[in-house]
């Protein structure tokens, strides 16, 4: 077939050379030189056995020469993987303590610097929690993949912490968060509507990452991570430039990746919305002085909301809510449809589908004799046959489409729920950080005069307010 090799055509000793590993480069210019070369040594080949890899039997040295051994530098020892997990646990505990109990931004900066140095520049961004959901998804759906216990730990620990103490991981453990947080010099306020709109991107990215990981198509979240190449100080130009762009943006817009892209942050946001304890701006009670209003560079501080007006005045809200409720199944369907369409369109990311697509394209454009185009060789290179590949690729496409329906539907439902949330009246008596949006960076504490009082620093002329009884448990 099309893989008929160079040796079979021109070489006097066809059996001497394996016929299944001859790429197309034979027929480029280099190939001509090889041809001459092959003729030169062809004579030797005739004398050799049919077994390719012993064409020239290894010599018996008279001089007693000792063969060198092939070196095998080992991978990073397993114990260090466990050290990583231990460091993660300690850092998570410290970050929770700094944010909720010690209430110290300085300590948090110290921890961030450490995490940036350790998880960022020393561990070079791998292993990291942001990519870990993909490993878990792959393990769930592909029985041939064994999930390293460390990856599972990196997936679970920050999430469990978030369920109890909020986004401590983001506050001082995540190197991606730390690098953005530490370069922030002059935060601008992102308009609330834009923040809300861009805030749904991470969920879409998460869905995409999980879908492609679960179908064994690759880890897109890792592939498009803008900071890991910076930690490694090496990478392809586009991704390095993207990283640089994110960093420059982070000078003026607080944590752009965290707020508008990070898929793990999306999970943490959901988890911390139901967290047991959460960050509060004031150590004891809010005097409604509004001094903290602008303190959060990530737009997480929410103003108090008055109690809802009597139900009769909420007509418009109620109607909007009901309309959305009726539309919700439609939104879910629409999301599912769009998701599956998108997943099918992007199916070429999967190597199997990609190979099949290239193969079919090459077949369709068939006009030259076989072996002439590198693309047509793809199948031979992958050592697959067409009858193997096409059904496999179709199966992957089907799984992607199905997964697209599920995740797209979830996304549609999520979108609907968010929209409905706008019509809900959430009563808030104090100035508080939003449980989901707050990354627990501890910046806003010192803008509160009550906090200054607690610390024994003179507040800027504030009359009343009694000092807090110390040693209060973290506010719930």
């Amino acid at each position: 077939m099309s893989r008929a090799s160079f040796s079979q055509r021109r070489n006097p000793a066809p059996t001497a050379i394996p016929t299944n590993r001859w790429p197309a480069s034979l027929w480029n210019q280099n190939g001509l030189r090889w041809l001459v070369f092959a003729v030169v040594i062809g004579g030797f080949l005739i004398l050799q056995s049919a077994w390719a890899e012993q064409r020239f039997p290894p010599p018996d040295f008279q001089s007693g020469h000792v063969l060198p051994t092939t070196t095998t530098p080992s991978a990073r020892a397993l114990v260090w993987q466990y050290v990583d997990v231990a460091v993660l646990m300690i850092a998570l505990a410290l970050a929770s303590w700094f944010a909720l109990k010690l209430r110290s931004r300085k300590a948090m900066i110290g921890l961030s610097l450490f995490s940036l140095a350790y998880f960022g520049f020393y561990r070079e961004g791998c292993i990291c929690a942001i990519g870990a959901p993909q490993n878990v998804a792959l393990a769930l759906f592909d029985s041939t993949y064994t999930l390293p216990a460390t990856a599972l730990a990196f997936f679970l620990l920050p999430l469990v912490t978030a369920l109890f103490y909020g986004r401590s991981f983001c506050a001082g453990v995540c190197p991606h968060g730390a690098i953005q947080d530490l370069v922030l010099i002059k935060p601008v306020t992102v308009p609330r509507w834009l923040e809300q709109a861009l805030g749904i991107v991470p969920y879409a990215f998460l869905g995409l990452g999980l879908l492609f990981a679960a179908t064994g198509s690759g880890f897109l979240i890792c592939r498009w991570d803008p900071f890991v190449p910076i930690f490694r100080l090496s990478g392809h130009l586009t991704i390095l430039l993207t990283g640089a762009a994110f960093l420059v943006t982070a000078l003026f817009v607080g944590r752009p990746y965290c707020r508008f892209l990070c898929p793990y942050g999306a999970l943490l946001k959901l988890a911390s919305q139901v967290s047991r304890w959460r960050v509060r701006i004031t150590p004891d009670h809010c005097t409604q002085c509004k001094l903290c209003e602008k303190a959060c560079p990530f737009g997480a501080i929410r103003a108090p909301a008055p109690p809802p007006p009597p139900a009769t005045e909420l007509r418009a809200e109620r109607n909007r809510f009901l309309i959305l409720l009726v539309l919700l199944p439609g939104l879910i369907l629409l999301g599912g449809w769009a998701g599956s369409k998108f997943a099918m369109a992007a199916a070429g990311i999967n190597p199997e589908v990609n190979l099949a697509e290239r193969h079919l394209a090459a077949q369709a454009a068939e006009s030259l004799p076989p072996l002439s185009k590198p693309d047509q060789q793809a199948l031979a290179r992958a050592q697959r046959t067409e009858s193997e590949l096409l059904p496999a690729a179709l199966a992957v496409r089907r799984r992607l489409g199905f997964g697209g329906w599920i995740l797209g539907g979830l996304f549609g439902g999520f979108l609907g729920a968010r929209l409905m949330g706008f019509s809900l009246w959430v009563r808030r008596t104090d100035w508080e950080p939003d449980a989901g949006d707050c990354v627990a960076c501890a910046r806003c504490f010192r803008s509160c005069p009550q906090e200054l009082l607690r610390l024994g620093l003179t507040p800027p002329e504030l009359p009343h307010a009694s000092p807090a009884p110390s040693g209060e448990p973290p506010p719930g």
Binding site: R21, W22, P23, W34, V36, F37, I41, L45, E53, Q54, F56, P58, P59, F61, Q62, H65, L67, P68, T70, T72, P73, S74, A75, R76, L78, C126, G131, N135, A139, L140, S143, Y145, T146, L147, P148, A149, T150, L152, L156, V160, L163, G218, F219, C222, R223, P229, R232, S234, G235, A271, Q273, V274, R276, H285, P351, A378, R381, A382, Q383, G476
Partner: protein
């Protein structure tokens, strides 16, 4: 949540709801962990390429995320014929059988050719120079014993979660292997 600051906060309906959701989330995470626990390993996994599958395409040299690819040429000496005219070392049609750069296949001169005894020469790889381009591997595989081949070197590889070479390798030669046995070396038979 509670308008009165000084009274201990009672359990509001929202707190109750949150506690319920939290419980559900913990159960969900526990469920996921339980499902994958059976498929998880205490070991770490690293990337390696199977030399039997490699088609010497050259992408290893250019696709690694590292400036200097983590993939290098290695040599199973016991398989080597110690040929004077090494097809992994010399260009086809070399001007002379000496170490002149114009005669060499290797673009970086990473192969060291050392005389052992007549007529045998030993070829070793200087890994600081090797870029993993597989040119020598190609020559050795086609016309020699195939004792030169590529491997991911784990003193260099940073073990990306999504290996950048694995995703472009046309021969699907990359796979995850246990970190305790991180090489797929060619053996003599």
């Amino acid at each position: 949540m509670k308008p009165e600051h000084n009274t201990p906060p009672a359990v509001t309906r929202r707190d109750f709801l949150r506690a319920g959701l939290r419980g559900a989330a913990i159960a969900g995470l526990g469920g996921v962990a339980g499902l994958v626990a059976g498929r998880s390993t205490a070991e770490h996994l690293v990337w390696q390429l199977d030399p039997q599958q490699c088609t010497r395409c050259g992408l290893c040299a250019t696709s690694c995320v590292l400036e200097q690819s983590a993939v290098k040429c290695v040599h199973t000496y016991a398989m080597c014929g110690y040929c004077e005219l090494c097809t992994g070392y010399f260009e086809p049609d070399p001007i002379d059988l000496n170490t002149g750069a114009e005669n060499q296949v290797c673009p970086t001169g990473a192969i060291i050719r050392k005389f052992v005894e007549d007529p045998y020469y030993e070829y070793t790889i200087d890994e600081t120079l090797c870029i993993g381009c597989a040119k020598c591997v190609d020559g050795c595989q086609r016309f020699g014993n195939g004792s030169l081949y590529l491997q991911v070197r784990h003193d260099r590889c940073v073990n990306c979660n999504d290996c950048a070479i694995a995703r472009v390798c046309p021969a699907d030669a990359f796979r995850r292997v246990p970190a305790s046995q991180p090489y797929l070396l060619k053996q003599t038979h």
